[in-house]
Subunit: 485 residues, 2 copies
Amino acid sequence: MRKKGIQTNDPHVQALARIVGGEKSILYKKEDLIAYDCDGFTVHRHLPKAVVFPKNTEEVAAIVKYCHEHDLPFLARGAGTGLSGGAIPLNGEVIISLVRMKRLISVDLENRRAVVEPGFVNLKLTNSISDRGYYYAPDPSSQYCCTIGGNVAENAGGAHCLKYGVTTNHILGLEVVLPNGEIIEIGENGIPDPPGYDLLGLLTGSEGTLGIVTKITVRILKNPEAKQTVLAYFDRVEDASQAVSDIIAAGMVPAALEMMDQTAIEGVEAAAFPVGHPKDIEALLLIEVDGISAGIPEQIEEILRICRNRNVREVKVAQTEEERARWWANRKTGFGAMGAISPDYLVQDGVIPRSKLPEVLKNIQEISKKYGLRIANIFHAGDGNLHPLVLFDASKPGETEKALAAGSECLQACAAVGGSITGEHGVGIEKKEEMRFIFSDEEILAQTDIRDVFNPKNLLNAGKLFPTPGRCVEVKKEKKQKQLL
Amino acid sequence: MRKKGIQTNDPHVQALARIVGGEKSILYKKEDLIAYDCDGFTVHRHLPKAVVFPKNTEEVAAIVKYCHEHDLPFLARGAGTGLSGGAIPLNGEVIISLVRMKRLISVDLENRRAVVEPGFVNLKLTNSISDRGYYYAPDPSSQYCCTIGGNVAENAGGAHCLKYGVTTNHILGLEVVLPNGEIIEIGENGIPDPPGYDLLGLLTGSEGTLGIVTKITVRILKNPEAKQTVLAYFDRVEDASQAVSDIIAAGMVPAALEMMDQTAIEGVEAAAFPVGHPKDIEALLLIEVDGISAGIPEQIEEILRICRNRNVREVKVAQTEEERARWWANRKTGFGAMGAISPDYLVQDGVIPRSKLPEVLKNIQEISKKYGLRIANIFHAGDGNLHPLVLFDASKPGETEKALAAGSECLQACAAVGGSITGEHGVGIEKKEEMRFIFSDEEILAQTDIRDVFNPKNLLNAGKLFPTPGRCVEVKKEKKQKQLL
């Protein structure tokens, strides 16, 4: 095979290629870069300057140092499944792809920890340790392909986070390349709650704006001795919502407590994993309990009783592991399934106090009517984490804008009842203006001040997470600086 | 009664008195200030300039603004039960005591939240909601008098944090007065994992160096349906340690899993709540499981089986709630009980990987021999959070210094096996130099940079949490600043 070498005169590309060991670890031609112009949020597209594929922390640090010294914008990317545009190269960034850093470095069963590289795929961790009776809890629906590095950046959640918590609850240590190329370790030995400021928590969910994670120590859990799964069909969405409240009020903490509405059911039944859900029900609940065997039957009985009290049409318990797996495949591929009933769809992600569920679902129906766009709901009902899916057709002029406006109004409806604009998908570029729904100027300033400490040149993933500062923020910043003189 | 007015010409004291509404809300005479010269860490003592008692957030903000404008050092104080000196006025601070801000503002059972002022006593929250079937999980041993504001500052733990997590896992929202007097709300509606940087996590456990918390939204939990408690006596400490490992390895997560060694047992049996523990055993375990009733007996059986496998001398299950309460009173007053067998004692607080328990306990015995000081161990064995209690007599010349050195060596022993220098008591002034055991200069600098963002004049609780910067840190800081020019 003929060695072609780097076919560009761009000195930055040549220098970056030297750092990562040549042409096989860098992309720089337009036809190659197109695949990196967006992530799971496809509404905005921008070409990166180049994509580099480092093999280890030292290469990441060298790339970052080079970018820092030459004022090149840069950002890190995992599998690119993020739903809020966090990995989109808005400013023609150098993309540092971490997919080649995909080793499972170590597993320590006795102390319940594993150490992985950021490009290690989420589900592979559970697959690597399940035969010894352990698993990794955070389970975003994209877990078969998303990376743990990306999960850390977005503080990813998942169906089972009701009982087990989101990614931040499972991160024990991080190795991080700071935006100037320095390498630091946080909680390096995987001891929970290390002294000093909670940098672990700060980095987790910082959406790639404070540093690049190059090694991750995660908590692993013992498989629950038993689990059982219930599927419940409701004629009225209010009854399903009430059943959710009743289950929580009974003091149970199911491992998962998911809801789908009628439009969502239409979608999943038309897609790859149909279950045979009736299409004329307003809502279904998918409920899973796990733990030691002894307590499970009593909890299932209680859940069945609650569902019947709330006028459930039909309720059943999974009879085999295969049936359970099929119900979950139907649920976990639910977002993509909307493609079966609509050319395009926009996933939203808001959080509300559980008690406001019926009210907000009604508001979302009204938003749907107002814009003339169908909105499906598939979501983590147990923790009040809504996922309205706005169905639209991007080929119709103006419909993308309408879908974005409808999605934003859904978030406003969440914020209005004391909720939040994202549960687990992050802010990225998608929702940065919506941050104003819940944060004052001072509160945004307190955060951008922190970003400036880590990322003073703002070369790392700029233009994400925070709204464009208004004049009043600038004035406050000047005033603050003056106070210090 | 004669109105005396403020009896000092100090204009700052007069101004502060005006802010808080007069002489009844300020202390400034030396005889009154002595009570505030230390907290639960009694080795260092310093007089504050004054102690003010604000009644609300606005008064706190006005005091802070005044201090900020007049360059007066200041710090916040709750009940003063902290064990690492976080509330000691090293620099003659104005102490802002939050004990009058002690309201339970609201309870929202449906969404499992309560809002409290920072001076609200920890145990009062559980007492206020237990008749409705709820409780607040973090239970430091001082919970009958420590305040939730102080718990937030120190990220306090407790015996039941093995299953339920430490304070940071239960904080949903904070109102904070920043060091310049601005008021911000973080996660104001109690939605978990709000977007943007995790300021909730950053503030929680920041030991009063980033801001003053004036309102706290906490998660409340439903009382477990049932709980049972086991007391197990072991002839050999290695067997007790192994039983701890076996219980965790069996996939159980007890609500609490506590250990006491022989010296500790001698202390608690000589103090206020003796249980009748045999004095010739090397260790006891106090184990509690909770949850739905159905699973409890099986878990207890499994625990008894494990203890017997590990040569337990005697093991018993609490037969009545009264017996259980007595066992816990014996454990929770354990630190103070050391006063019954030693004139003085120093509590240490380290964390180790659970698998290193036997090794580190042995090292602590050697440290005890080396210094000729007895060291008792009462601790959260389930999560590897050790509490060596160094017994000494401060009236003997040089013995305080020896005790401090022995305590520091215990921490070094924890760090040496990949552990940490504090589990739940904080760094304060006690352990700031020990931070070097686990953090590099870069890692400390990353943290002090964050402090400087919030607290740029370093008037708020200065000289805590981080080691005195060495010359190399200064050089790095200069270099970093130069890079930005």
